[in-house]
Amino acid sequence: MRCSESVGCPWSDVACCYWIYCSGGLELLCDSVKMHNVNVDLENGLEQLTMKDLLAWARTNLIKERPEMFMKGDTVRPGVLVLVNDCDWELSGQLDTTLQEKDVVVFISTLHGG
């Protein structure tokens, strides 16, 4: 799986590119960058990317430190909210949510002071 963090998608005819937005303190795990435009290749045989795949990809390619603050096992750490195109991923099947090109995925950590 490759990654591109430039705006604009030179690989858009081959792979699917997505927007990932990290907030609530999670951006600190990604070198304090909130907005990421990423490219994720699909594995052979897969037609669509699921959130499960995206998470695994993010853990390897996006999160630069303390991955345990972002994920626990296969899924996000409890206390991290996930929105796909502004909608709670609990509505779309959580890890089984399928992603379309240019989808916007938002991770918000709630685990900080208020």
């Binding site: 600190l28 750490r77 502004d86 240019k102 002071g113 208020g114």
Partner: protein, 372 residues
Amino acid sequence: MEEGNKIPKSASSRLCCRCNERKPALKRPKTLEQICRKCFYEVFEEEIHQVIVGNQLFKAGERVAIGASGGKDSTVLAYVMSELNRRHNYGLDLFLLSVDEGITGYRDDSLETVKRNEVQYGLPLKIVSYKELYGWTMDEIVKVIGLKNNCTFCGVFRRQALDRGAAYLKVDKLVTGHNADDIAETVLLNILRGDVARLSRCTSITTGEDGPIPRCKPFKYTYEKEIVIYPCSYCKNLNQNHTYAYFKKLDYFSTECIYSPNAYRGFAREFIKDLERIRPRAIVDIIKSGENFRISTSTKMPEQGTCERCGYISSQKWCKACVLLEGLNRGLPKLGIGRSRGLENGNGNRKDMEQNGDVRSIESKQCGSLDF
């Protein structure tokens, strides 16, 4: 679009359960309902209004200070309070009250957010600082005491700081942004520590009525998840630049306090979050259980008096803040830290701080030191 007004509510329902018109944006943890954004805003605001009215939190004409840290809870609180005050004519005079503990790289940034809130909501802001109240910033304190028991000092000082700020503003009440998750954590914490006195008080929506300034928590039944989602809207602009991502109305500051990683509360929080994942209603259920505890009359409870040195409310001769300050000023940083069975600071909520820590660290093996 379906004809007819009633769509059977099933797990695979595709429309908002309230309006049956729009696509759902959120699954509410409290009710497991699937609800669209517009309905969510309405329900969120209406429920808080009902909590305020149902618990008679305010009277018309009162001056009310909102404890504002710049974080998510207090920012949403400030917004919702001013909105409901206007919409339902509570007749309140609202203020923002912030505490500057003097933590570089954390508090100085979040205070910038509160200053923006002052402008955005038109609420006058008062900042009280540890430096001006006690002569010490948290950074200076940590240099002296090390990285243990930080939250003990900070929590105790903050409680007084808020009261002093509230007195300065001549307000009748203080509101804080403690949410359902916080209160459930506090219930668990008090059970884990066997702190019966606090357990009996920590679920009250209003506390400190016998003290200097009563405090209330309008978000007592509001889930943290909903507070976080409420202000957010990430909208994609379908133009060439692909620019997007703006917060709908509210911006807030979000980092962990740099001194917090060892706070005991963290364990309770992890547990609550894990529970929420399995059964979201657990949070309000824990609060309900906490409300239903009855303390046996044979249990000895601390009596509330006043501090001999500063007059603040205290169940000991000196209030905890004075004890800690004395220790700092005399170069005895462990004074006030360590095993003492006396319960200090009679009024109940151990949590007047932002989810970070504990007023008493003695039972906590993580951040407390058990030596003298």
